[in-house]
Amino acid sequence: MNGRVVTVTSGKGGVGKTTTTANLGMALASMGNKVVCIDADIGLRNLDVVMGLENRIVYDLVDAVEGRCRVTQAMIRDKRYETLYLIPAAQTRDKNAVSPSDMIRLCDTLREEMDWIIIDSPAGIERGFRNALAPADEVLVITNPEVSAVRDADRIIGLVEAEEKGPVKLIINRINPAMVKRGDMISAEDVVELLAIHLIGIVPEDETVLVSTNHGQPVVMNEKSQAGYAFLNIAKRLNGEDVPWMELDEKNGFFNRLGKLISGGS
C-alpha cells in the first residue's frame, strides 16, 4: 500500500486545524479507507479529545519515535470506525523530542499499511510545524475569513512553497453567509483571490461543530450538519471525486455561483 500524507496547517491558532483533521480522518475512514491521524502538537495534545479517544491513550508519538513501543502500539483504534486510528501527541514532553527526519521515517512506515496519514500541525512556524510539514505529500492550509488568519495563511503558503512541498490546497473555515451578504465578512471568493491558491473546501460557521465536539464526536457524523457535510465533501475531493459546491444560501446562491466561478476559472 502507498498511503498519502496530508498535513493540515494554518499558521494562526484557533482556526480549525484539529477539527478539520478529526473530521477528514473520520470521513475518509467512513468511505472505507485505512486512516491514521497524527497529533503533531507535542505538549499541547488536543486531537484525542476532539476525536473522543482521550481515555484510550497508552503510548504516544514520542514513545513511537523513540522506540519505547512499536508504531502499532501507539495507534489508538477509533471506537466507531475500525479503519481509523490516532497517534496522540505527548503531553509532558518537550516539543524538540521529535525531529522532521523522525516524522519522515514514521510516515514511511505508516504508508505501507494506511491509505491516508493526516497530520495535525501545531500553530506557528517553528519546530512543530517543520515536523508536520516534512513528510507531507500535500498540504491543507486552513484559514478563517478574517485579516489575521488570511495573513498568516499567506505566510504559511509561502513557507510551504519555499520547501517545495505541496500541492497546497485551501480550506476556508467558519464562513458566515449572512455576514458576507451584508458586506461584513470577506467572501470566500476574495480570500481565494488574495491567497491565489487552489480551494478545496468552504466550511460554514455552524454551532453543531461545538456541540459535536463537546461529545467527542466529529461533526461529520452528524448528517444534518452543514459543516459536517462540507467536511465530507472535502474528504471526497481529497479522494479524487468531483463534488459540486454546496449551496449555503438559497436566496442568492452565493456558494453555487462561487463554485461555478472557481471550476470555470481553473
Binding site: 478574517e146 485579516v147 495573513r151 505566510r155 509561502g158 451584508r182 458586506g183 470577506i186 488574495l194
Partner: protein
C-alpha cells in the same frame, strides 16, 4: 455583491472591502519583505539614477508592486520630459 449595492446607493465602504484592501497591501509587503518606507526610498534612488541619463518628470513617476497570482511584479511608470520643451 453587498458592497456594490452599498456603492450604488452611496454608502461607505463595507468592512469586508476595507479588510480586503488592507490585506491586499499587507500581503504584498509580507511577500516581498519590502516596507512602504523602503519602497519610497527605492523610488527616490531610482529617480536619482535615471535622472543622470534622461530628464524625467519626478512628480509623475509611479513605482508600485502588483500581485499576479502568487508572483509579485515591480511596475515603474516614469514619464520622460521632452528636452526640447525646456
Amino acid at each position: 455583491m453587498a458592497s456594490l449595492i452599498d456603492r450604488l446607493i452611496g454608502r461607505n465602504t463595507s468592512s469586508a472591502d476595507a479588510a480586503k484592501e488592507r490585506l491586499h497591501l499587507v500581503l504584498i509587503h509580507d511577500r516581498t519583505d519590502l516596507s512602504p518606507e523602503d519602497l519610497r526610498t527605492m523610488k527616490d534612488r531610482l529617480i536619482d539614477v535615471i535622472s543622470d541619463y534622461v530628464k524625467i518628470d519626478a512628480g509623475e513617476t509611479e513605482i508600485q508592486i502588483k500581485a499576479n497570482g502568487r508572483e509579485q511584479t515591480l511596475i515603474a511608470n516614469i514619464p520622460l520630459r521632452n528636452p526640447r520643451s525646456r
